[in-house]
Symmetry: C3
Subunit: 309 residues, 3 copies
């Protein structure tokens, strides 16, 4: 398997075997990600971190990943710190930036921008989120978390909860879970259910899928509850929003009715979706999930830079 020089734009660019290889490499990175072991694997290498849109988690964990491996980072955290406003095209910005680095991690508000950048750049592009498009490293860290916590990906029943219509995270994750033949239940208010094209694609891959609107009923037999933030601005009527927020809150009562070893995941940031009382329980996997962004991104950086095969 050769990842050297490859772009990582969408989870769909990766086969099942390639995903498993990335997760295996990530697994070996854990002691370095925790700061328990030192590494100079990427010493002398430079990652350009180009965030055309602010981000805390993705940017900081990518930068931590590069630095834990002895590598360096240059870049910007928001477009205001650049001269982009002079009217330069994204293609020119990428072709310039790539002459200063060995790999580019980019987040951009425009869907398709990462794919375009990959066409122009000769260094590998890793997509850190392109608007409503893709966010493959989030998807990989989600899969990694499920495997770390439950032992496998495919042998679980996974509930995807919340805004399934607009969240790019759940679209990619549904695809990836279908690839591993996991059973899925999509729990959302009707106006925020999973788009038909995503459902069709998952079904075509042979994944068992069901739909629910009632959170409590639907989570009783699942192994993983993956929650996403419901945004107020999706609802024309604030009353409607308030109702949904109340109904879709994960709390101790609901978890108490589920499987003993069910885990709760969330891409974060969360607002009202998970009650704070859950934080200290065995169910709460979301902060471990945030940490997992580091070893997974270490694996990707090492693979595309040729530090590891």
């Amino acid at each position: 398997m050769n990842f050297k020089g490859r772009d990582i734009v969408s989870i769909k660019d990766l086969t099942e075997d390639e995903i498993l290889h990335i997760l295996d490499v990530a697994d070996g990175m854990i002691p370095i990600a925790r700061g328990e072991e030192k590494s100079d694997l990427l010493k002398g290498k430079i990652m350009a971190s180009l965030f055309f849109e602010p981000s805390t988690r993705t940017r900081l964990s990518f930068e931590a990943a590069m630095k834990r491996l002895g590598g360096n980072v240059i870049g910007f955290a928001q477009p205001g710190a650049t001269s982009m406003q002079k009217g330069e095209s994204l293609a020119d910005t990428i072709r310039t930036a790539e002459s200063y680095c060995d790999v580019i991690v980019m987040r951009h508000p425009q869907e398709g921008s990462a794919r375009m950048a990959a066409e122009f750049a000769s260094v590998p592009i890793i997509n850190g989120g392109d608007g409503a498009g893709h966010h493959p490293t989030q998807c990989l860290l989600d899969l990694f978390t499920i495997r770390e916590e439950k032992g496998s990906i495919g042998e679980n029943k996974v509930a995807l909860v919340g805004d399934l219509k607009y969240g790019r995270t759940v679209h990619s994750l549904a695809y990836a879970l279908a690839l591993f033949k996991a059973e899925m239940v999509f729990i959302a208010p009707e106006q925020l259910q999973m788009p038909p094209e995503v459902v069709e694609e998952c079904k075509a891959m042979g994944a068992p899928i069901s739909f629910e609107t009632d959170l409590e009923e639907a989570t009783g037999d699942v192994d993983v509850i993956y929650v996403t933030r419901i945004q107020k601005e999706r609802f024309p009527d604030p009353e409607e929003y308030n109702k949904v927020v109340g109904i879709y809150e994960i709390n101790s009562r609901i978890l108490g009715k589920g499987k003993k070893d069910v885990i709760v995941m969330h891409p974060l940031p969360r607002v009202y979706e998970i009650a704070p009382e859950v934080d200290g329980t065995k169910y709460a996997a979301y902060f471990r999930q945030a940490f997992n962004g580091v070893p997974v991104r270490m694996a990707l950086l090492s693979l595309v830079l040729g530090g590891i095969e």
Copy 2:
């Protein structure tokens, strides 16, 4: 004395002996802080530099401190470069950030925020200033500067000059000087004098204290003049401000009437408090004081990360 894993939220968290130990370690860091010696003491470690409020001095000197010791830095210099606006709680931001690093340095506009962060985080939190609250590393570098310049802390008469009411820096410093039994004179316009609770606390610790409004008269016999910025917005009447600014300017004439070896300190930035003519004189300790932020912060980082005992 074991600092490993400890939070540094307030100068009051430290005993006299602990403070002296930090200053001793800082003393040994000077050649590395100056770039004359190299160090890999904190190699592989990551400091998260979370500045929810802009800062030049504190942030840059912390980052220099970490890098002089071979360590790495991730973080943000202003909240605009983060996704904090999505409504995430500070507790969640801290719990996420800590999974990417070994120590967190934070500045936040809200008093008490550093203490709260320390309760949630398992990595050490170093408070880089929390609004009107604490700024312990400024206090430590002030003490370090007095000891470096004058040989001891307690055997000096120290004048604290300027806005003693609102300046968090002088409140912590008065406490710390009292701990070392230094004599203090508080020189301020009446409306900006030291708050009674700070005065009471210092007196209870046995420190000799006096009050003055006339700068020239009061600085004749002091060893250290510690000046702070008087902010225009504290005065309802601009006339009042202008009068005070003129009266409380440290210049060559005033210094000429004082002790031959008196030194002038200032946490910086200064505006009109010290005449530029002082810059080139032996009295001016304020740029050396700014430098001292580096070895003191190197000492703290090394201690809480276990690089040094």
Copy 3:
């Protein structure tokens, strides 16, 4: 030749021999700049990157240069991330920042600011652009590119095209080319021609100079076409701007009529000055020119920090 501790404020601070030495050192840096070789030449050193005005290219390539050599970077990418708004003077900011680092790279909107900073600082100041003033590292990378691409500097006929009146880049470059006795042709609309004082200075140095308004006619026999951006706001009448933009576009047709080995350079960012069809041709030297900023800045940093003689 001793560069250690020197400020680099203007290209005029350097003799012909000194420039050639910098370019020779830069030449040796190429494998490290490309990431093909590792270096610890500046390990333990800190560069402060003080950008009082946003920049992508200059800042990122300086930071890449420092990091490729094993050095560290602290700083800010825009004044909003600092406490400058508290009214601190530039002199104080510089005197504070220099106590945290070994070299300062600064960009500032005010002409003359870098010279002033150099007077106050004891560490070397490298000017990364001071408003309408100087930008010596851009000039050095332009000279480096011409020498790399054409084998020498002086034995070329160079066309400077576009806004020759307001562009600081072309003023410095014209001076430097005159120093090497290169032949120059200044191609610009009348209202944007090279200022008389620059022309006089170049002539006094013995450089052959001619003036043109017609791009196509004037580029037929040149070796290098150096294009700069024409800014809309320079024209009171938008019609005038549109006409000029059309006339001064470098495209395949124009290049086809020129010398077979003519190269096109541009300091970037470009907007409409060069047709995208040129990008893939042998003529296009502008992305290689952007890359050359890295080895040239590596050379300067190594020289002023004493890493190389």
